[in-house]
Symmetry: D2
Subunit: 341 residues, 4 copies
């Protein structure tokens, strides 16, 4: 059955698999000390125009969020995030597991506002009892957000400015970074992201890789003994080459950006097609996740032929559903979906 | 340069890579809910002759140890292990990071004794202050051990009996399980392991896979909500298929055992060759890791042409070195090494 | 300077000090195994009409909340609480420090609603991704709340019913329990509390003791090896007698309830007096904490002569202030305050 | 029944109780911000001749060890301690609970050697895999040790020198500090302790107080936001005055040292008496804990009339027993004990 259920349904882009085969019997050092990882890091640093960045590779997104946040925060600090953010809702308490509170802010279409961050931090330090409270120690955002929406350059600059003002790092979860940057609505480049964020990660799992995320520390700010911290969190991959090779390929010949563009093209076709058929958007997502409000009956009927995600209840007769495209989405499947609607 | 530095120098067995390619565009559910993982679990249950076992796949060894131990222990419990055990020494405190003490026992050639376990538990409960102490809640062993040695069936049965007596689970770290089972000295089968241990894991990373370990709960004893616990530890792989497919292939047509046998054959050739040339064993390892005592001078000379691991200081003029073979070791490289000695 | 800043400004009720002196040289076992603690437990069980209860004594409130919540929850569970609850805001992340998320609910005057709890739990289990989320594992309320308000018997019964329905414990933080029960608005007794809650604690620190809180497990539900868990949290008092003796005295001759009544009488006098002088209540608190909206200018002027707490900003020219009475409040000080207004 | 079971059998020195009564109704700020705590800190700084020290008061010993160690260590660091040290054996894993490994060293009569520390740290950094291991981040010792023995000034200076060499702090657990300093065998003063240690604590619970320990940071090295860290560990006492007042009294008119001397005098009388009666010392303790090897039969007989602690098994017919004296020990009780032997 054709599925739009999420953006990690297939394996990896074929160029990645070929590269794995081509390099397979080369003996390399473990734990990310291999040459492939070093080359991949150089490629990324070049792509983001940030020669001083430090690049580290981890396996998955929640792992990356947990390790970055736990390693960067002081024990008395928490991380500010949208109440709808991934770390707030869908990581099974991985941040709290490592001892830190998520300080949640109200979100609109998945986004938080610089002024709300500013207000939270100002209010904190004005409170006579602030020593009895969790210190705001970092701002977490994702690009795109959980709802597929994008921060504008102006919004990102405002967030970066507030973080600088309060000397707390801005961390951007880029699990779907490519899909954000490839959107027609995006007005930032990956270089802008690198310039504005203190830390971010470039998602591989959802964009062509079997697994893997690339953390970027942009300001000479890799935590001390980070390898040991990764190991301690159980996340140091013996064959670090596995991720290194994948990112080396993703950042060769623009692959990462090209396949991201494909997913966005497919998403736009899907969106246009569904709007043309009169379906109601839940919100206007400019990226690879498309949210619609659909009658329960229609959902049940459609799910006999197509897989997609029931997101949340809208009202008694309708639910919000999500269709996700990705690097591997076939145009014929979009056609098939639209034909069924 | 030829390397015997460890057993995770190359990528994956080519059959695994081919299977990844063959299955690449099949859309599958995430988080280990895919069909490949289900099929791999069936293959493993059949191989271990334990139809009621639950199989779960994780990415790496330290991660597996951390999650199993933290999920199975009560908060007031620690895990008994050899003072030379992997969790005691080389996991950067991953067990303590999740709140549990490693209760270390003296080890001989990497192995602990059932009677020492029994004594530790007996002594604990006889202590008037035991409520102020860490409860012994699990026994951790590895097969083979950090020194490549093997528990005999009798020793394993004794450990299992002590664990049963005290109602604490026996957990076996099988990062190199295949290399243990393929050894000419092994007197246990994987079915014996499944019968005697409450939990064990079958190592993939060091035996043919790009990554991946298969946890086996043999006694209907998978921790409640284990998926959530895995997620909380940051270890739930989105594309769980990546590990499922690898284990499916490893447990097809005896691949796992065949390639383990190859590594052992190479190790025995290396051992015999070095003994013939008069090199002194540090201990007589029957598996894929061979430890020798070598003069510092000779080490320096040899390391210009061959990579291998300096293990620890032996005396002022000599060190213990380790040569590791694996599924990918080429016989010609053993020949080259022996020619250089 | 006279202070109404909080309810832990003085030492202890003189009867407690005399009991400490009277018992001082009696040799007793440590760690809560002393006879005084045993007697105090009996007195409490009798007062709450719950003969099967287990009573444990700890030093302070945040400590108690942390240990109870961490000991009762499974690792994959969080605790539901008002977004204004003490554990949500003023315990420096002590709950998250021990690995658990606080699942916050909107609160009105410090109180949460049974239907909101029900809805949260229902929604959780209906979510297709609930395994990736923090399980709701306990409900935390306080009586009185952070704003001095009280749950009615009906509201408590509704919360208890929802907790029973979902098989999660109801835990009541009684840091100021006596002040709640002594309020003219209270329609529950301590026996009701014991009947409706699975766990609660009777606050001593704020009600006559030097330190100490009495945890009550009402349903044969003390966590296994709780002494060890307390020790592990660093909270096992060597001279447990110190708390045992204090609660023994507090629960002799109705002392706990009598001194609670005094605090409420003083609070009502303060409230009536301030209302008579035209001061605006922030909300109508029926207990020992009285919140008023006061012009900044008036606050500054008054604070030269009287201490009280600035609670939070109300608008640009006014703040919410808090006056707290307690067991030790002198009526002449209330008179002095009212004379100054 | 007369008891020598431990050194926390009675309440508090009567001068402390009188001071609590005398100050009882004075209104003071909470959380250690009271004047009594400030005065006590000044008294201690003067007594230790370390005007720049920071003093903080906590309730108990395990709590103090946990908070100091967790607050000072980096997450990737562990603490070096004797394998017989209190944190290694009798704190229920409180150090591991907060995420840190205890790196244990062999001990002789409870003491570790500077050269063993030096060797551990040197070996660590020479290890090719040190990034996969727990970093040595602190040295923990106690004075007196678990066996009542004392480090000589020379030994302490050697430990301090090694710590300085490796830039890791030396932390001294002084639960029984007074009893160590008052020993005829002690060749250090409290000023020496303050000079040689980076952090230490002065035990109150076992030396005259109801509860309370005074942490001393001697080198302007109090952890940032330490109040918040204490709160997060559940250990911030609302009525901080309770400990402040006690230490104020203990450090007035030499009380702490005088009552320590009494305990030592009693211990020496007990030791001399028992030796005279032919009892065999387990080791020659110069402080308030006296260890003897006693036939099981004699133990059973004696325990019908006197309480004391069975320490550990010596051989099949004998056990090691401990008699502890303290500030409150009555000379007549020593006489009674000796009469019974």
């Amino acid at each position: 059955m054709i599925s739009f259920e999420n953006d990690y349904l297939e394996g990896a882009h074929e160029r990645i698999l070929h590269r794995l085969i081509a390099t397979n019997m080369i003996q390399e050092a473990g734990y990310g000390e291999d040459d492939f990882s070093a080359q991949a890091a150089e490629k990324i640093k070049s792509a983001i125009a940030c020669p001083d960045a430090t690049i580290r590779f981890l396996v998955g997104g929640t792992q990356t969020n947990q390790i970055v946040i736990d390693s960067v925060l002081q024990p008395y600090e928490g991380v500010i995030a949208a109440e709808t953010g991934h770390i707030s809702t869908h990581e099974a308490g991985a941040i709290e597991f490592s001892g830190h509170k998520v300080l949640s802010l109200p979100a609109k279409e998945g986004k938080i506002k610089a002024e709300d961050v500013d207000n939270l931090v100002e209010t904190f330090y004005q409170d006579a009892n602030y020593q009895h409270m969790v210190f705001p120690g970092m701002v977490y955002i994702s690009y795109p957000t959980e709802y597929g929406t994008l921060y504008s350059k102006k919004e990102l600059e405002a967030l970066a400015a507030v973080c600088q003002k309060h000397k707390i790092p801005l961390y951007l979860d880029g699990a779907r970074l490519g899909y954000g940057l490839a959107s027609p609505s995006a007005d930032v480049t990956i270089q802008d992201i690198a310039r504005l964020c203190d830390i971010f990660y470039i998602g591989g799992t959802k964009i062509g890789a079997l697994c893997g995320e690339a953390i970027v520390f942009t300001k000479n700010n890799e935590p001390k003994n980070f390898t040991t911290l990764i190991k301690q969190h159980g996340a140091l991959l013996a064959k670090g080459r596995l991720i290194g090779i994948q990112f080396l390929e993703l950042f060769s010949d623009n692959l990462y950006f090209d396949i991201s563009q494909h997913a966005i093209d497919m998403a736009m076709k899907l969106k246009t097609g569904m709007l043309a058929k009169g379906y109601q958007q839940y919100l206007d997502s400019p990226t690879n996740q498309q949210f619609f409000v659909m009658p329960n009956e229609k959902i049940n009927e459609l799910q006999e032929k197509i897989k997609f995600a029931r997101w949340e209840k809208y009202d008694d007769t309708r639910q919000i559903v999500r269709f996700a495209t990705c690097w591997a989405t076939k145009e014929e499947n979009i056609d098939a979906l639209l034909a069924l609607l």
